[in-house]
Amino acid sequence: MQAVEVQEIRRVFTPRKREPVTALAGVSLTIPVGEVHGLLGPNGAGKTTLVKILSTVLLPTAGRALVCGHDVVTETKAVRPLIGIVFGGERGLYTRLSARKNLEYWGALYRLSGAEIKSRSDALLERVGLTDRADQRVEEFSRGMKQRLHLARGLMGDARVLFLDEPTTGMDPLAAREFRTLIGELKGEGRTILLTTHDMVEAEAVCDRVTLIDRGRILATETPRSLGSLISRFQRIDVEDAPADVLAAIEVTTGVSSVSAQPDGSVRIEVNEEGATRVVLQRLVEAGVTSVRTSLPSLEEVYVQMIGERGLVV
């Protein structure tokens, strides 16, 4: 049995007096038990929509989704005790109540006994480093502290499958690193985690597999290592004082997607094939160009490249 099975899920929103918006256009995805799965995509890609469907708060327009073998539409009572949800951002907590009160309330909603609520909330507050602030109102917390409390709240029900929607939003680098350690511990406990993020580093650090999603379609499901090589294909090289004939020759080299002048006077060479960077650098060095800088594109730029590729195929 898989922890999460998504079969051709479609979700179309029909706002009043506006054209329907397709948030998910036939998404299929399988996540085995115990896997940390990253869902990467820009804003509006459909990540949160998918998480909401899996967490039973949104109905799909078509398709089927199962959590631990239970249908998220017809078997909500079976699904809900198995899942924990952590939506990112400042919302999702009762800010005028203390951290402890928040956890106790959610523990009661997950049908824990009084003793379980106490022991689990104490343990979770300790785990996310909020023991000293447990009785302080949440409105006095920093954004990062709220995020940690979000995570503790999501774990109150001892969920087998966790949906973390951009959980490190607002965390400082140190807290984000601790969070990644925590994800590792949760995985060690056999929990399945679906993590949505914009952050490539985070995805590579904690995920067993990563799904790239854009405009409601899955572009690829890869291991982070494969994704790394995918991104490295789209490397770019910024050069200064390169002779025009050398640049012209590079422009027609296989694997070079563009050569363009930048506002600061430098020239940017973009490649879209593995190995092309090496060829370009070799030519530049042979031509005596010494001011050269290579960099990786942002995730969004990779999407643009990938969608372009898919567009040609389709």
Binding site: K52, T56, L59, K101
Partner: protein
């Protein structure tokens, strides 16, 4: 039951966090003074019962109705409503627990209203103590049940607070809580008879008079019946409306 109790407990915490939910405790005595003075100086001591009962009903109904709208709105603003729906406990039971706690807290307005009335020279006597007490208990249950039905509608409304605020007044009129239903146009009376407030307000006022209460059992039964209808409709409507907003994607929309 656990969900109901969880809702009740969190509501007690919310009273401390959001004291504005207890505004009726300040307004009810003021209404009491105003009504007492008007009736007293108009020479209508026979309407003392109305002046005593009306502020209490205004406070109770406001707390039940306004807080049911407020509860839904706060959950939306907090971004917690989706997580509440996704929790294993029944959303309707949690909300019902919160509304019931609020309604029970409204009982305080009985005491303070009558204390203030006394300070202003009016003493209120309860002539039929047990009937009065039974009516209060059934009224509170009916109020909580009816407020659940309203809360389910508020799930549909974007700004439930505004709606719940203005929705109070028609019930004050239809419930005959200050102006007797007998003084309203004839066509209003059938509508009034399906509003439990009209039955319970009449019974409470009857409990203050020395004359025997006629058809007490039937009238109390009507309060209970209409309240149970509200609870049943509320639970059913909550189920249907939650399914609808899960479909439209408007559950968390603020």
């Amino acid at each position: 039951m656990r969900a109901f109790l969880a809702g009740a407990r969190i509501q007690l915490s919310f009273f401390r966090a959001y004291p504005d939910a207890l505004i009726p405790f300040f307004t009810a005595p003021m209404f009491s003074v105003i009504f007492q003075m008007i009736f007293k100086h108009a020479g209508r001591q026979d309407l003392t019962g109305y002046a005593a009962v009306a502020p209490v009903f205004i406070a109770l109904w406001w707390m039940a109705l306004f807080n049911s709208g407020w509860t839904i709105t706060i959950e939306r603003w907090n971004g917690t409503i989706e997580m509440l729906v996704a929790a294993p406990s029944s959303f309707a039971a949690v909300i019902f627990g919160r509304i019931t706690t609020t309604t029970l807290a409204g009982v305080v307005s009985f005491g303070e209203t009558w204390i203030v009335a006394r300070l202003f020279g009016t003493t209120i006597h309860i002539e039929h103590g047990w009937a009065f007490l039974a009516t209060i208990v059934v009224t509170l249950a009916a109020m909580a049940g009816t407020a659940l039905a309203m809360a389910s509608l508020f799930v549909l409304a974007r700004n439930a607070v505004t709606f719940s605020n203005s929705a109070s007044f028609p019930f004050y009129v239809l419930g005959g809580i200050l102006v007797p239903v007998s003084l309203l146009p004839h066509w209003v009376r059938p509508i009034s008879s399906i509003v439990f407030l009209s039955w319970s307000a009449d019974l409470l006022r009857a409990g203050l008079r020395s004359t025997p209460i006629h058809d007490f059992g039937f009238r109390l039964g009507m309060v209970g019946f209409l309240g149970a209808c509200g609870l049943g409709v509320g639970a059913w409507a909550m189920h249907v409306i939650l399914r609808r907003v899960r479909g439209t994607g408007e559950l968390g929309t603020t």
